[in-house]
Symmetry: D2
Subunit: 153 residues, 4 copies
Amino acid sequence: MDIMNQISGSYEHKVQYYETDQMGIVHHSNYIRWFEEARTDLMDKIGFGYSKMEQSGILLPVLAASAEYKHPAQYGEIVRIIPRVTEFTGVKLTVSYVVENAVSGERKATGERKATGETRHGFVNQKMSPVRLKRDYPEIYQIFSELLESGKR
Amino acid sequence: MDIMNQISGSYEHKVQYYETDQMGIVHHSNYIRWFEEARTDLMDKIGFGYSKMEQSGILLPVLAASAEYKHPAQYGEIVRIIPRVTEFTGVKLTVSYVVENAVSGERKATGERKATGETRHGFVNQKMSPVRLKRDYPEIYQIFSELLESGKR
Amino acid sequence: MDIMNQISGSYEHKVQYYETDQMGIVHHSNYIRWFEEARTDLMDKIGFGYSKMEQSGILLPVLAASAEYKHPAQYGEIVRIIPRVTEFTGVKLTVSYVVENAVSGERKATGERKATGETRHGFVNQKMSPVRLKRDYPEIYQIFSELLESGKR
Amino acid sequence: MDIMNQISGSYEHKVQYYETDQMGIVHHSNYIRWFEEARTDLMDKIGFGYSKMEQSGILLPVLAASAEYKHPAQYGEIVRIIPRVTEFTGVKLTVSYVVENAVSGERKATGERKATGETRHGFVNQKMSPVRLKRDYPEIYQIFSELLESGKR
């Protein structure tokens, strides 16, 4: 679909000093937060950001999260986080992520892979009961189906 | 009052690795969080923790926060945060804090002062309108009045 | 070994207000930090805390981390994090975690399981080259071997 | 000076979900981090980022930090943080901050003031002894002097 092709899930994050630890690298817990940054940014871009979802009464809690660390990101770097929908059942959603060094300003992008990861989610209502998007929110169902398709390419 | 004399606002916090930054010290933003830890702990002890307050429909947002850093806290330390109610008007609350090195296990307490700080708060309802504790919640008013008195000693 | 039997890896953490998010539950990234709290606490107890390791020139970066979320931890709870060494090769280390509701004060412990997780680590020197504990630090090798054994029980 | 006039200290930050707390607003400790984001961004722009400073052997620890909260920032907002050098003695540095709602995408900028704040810093070497920029790093001294001048306008 046209709109999906135009959407770049690619998201840039400037490493912050408060994200480092005394090993001189980004503390590993922050990658889990970067995944969220890229995931919510993607959802904003498809017109269905968290704010809008919560207004619709839908929450998307995290059921599982994982990260594998390849090369530590460091202060002074800008990283690109690329989220990709790898599973969508109408009830559950899986997003995978690649974190890599990004070009910015005078620095050259090395594209060095920093980390990969994955988060799994369930669509629930305010009472934390599962919602079935296909039946109750067909429009949202359609969007995520297309994201899944575009993620496969 | 007896119960107030028994309440020690003193609160211990073990410095965590994820709280350090690449300068090899605790990132300064964490002290603001430690103030909250000590403040909420104090309120738990007086039988009026944040959970209970929120159930009563009262929120206590932070209007201002400040910290002065004396000696950097480091990983491996345990710090003691001592909160003290320094102002209470029935509508507003001011709490001041001292952070110092605390004894723990085999380590000797140096008592070295790490930082001092202050937070200012307003009592509001769910709609963020000020509540007057003296009229609407006399029991809570009484507790904070006593905390103020004990803070003066 | 006697000393290992006496060591309880069990670690308690009071949920902090700053750890919650607007869903009214603990933000999922914090569990990764709690794993670190329990892991470093365990290492302190066996006499080989991170501070001591770093003084010996050994770092233990995280190679991978994962968490599965069962029941959201909430503000007002105290959780117990139970770390267990599940793999130790002399070069790599795997620790698994269970997070559950803990007893505290007047609250009854439900023991409700909040989350499980795992972190994988490598022992490296300051230059991020792998160190072989068995050859270079036999004393440390011994301790982790015993932790692995006690983790199996 | 020309270059200073061209430098906009204005820095935009997209509020992240992990920055919210259960009051449904951004946790107050994050503003202290946003101040750092804007301050380090400003220093990057003048060609003297933290990375470069640390390479030169200069650290700029925070001696004091304060924030006054006017209107809570919320998830879904983009905020603009405007740092301004308000004091520079060659040994100490004071930066003040304004945080306000910023325009972004389809949302209209309200310019609503979220918070104001200030941080105070000292220039020190790796041993945490004060450095005198005017004598030892005249080039850096010049840059901050100009920032102070431009901050007055």
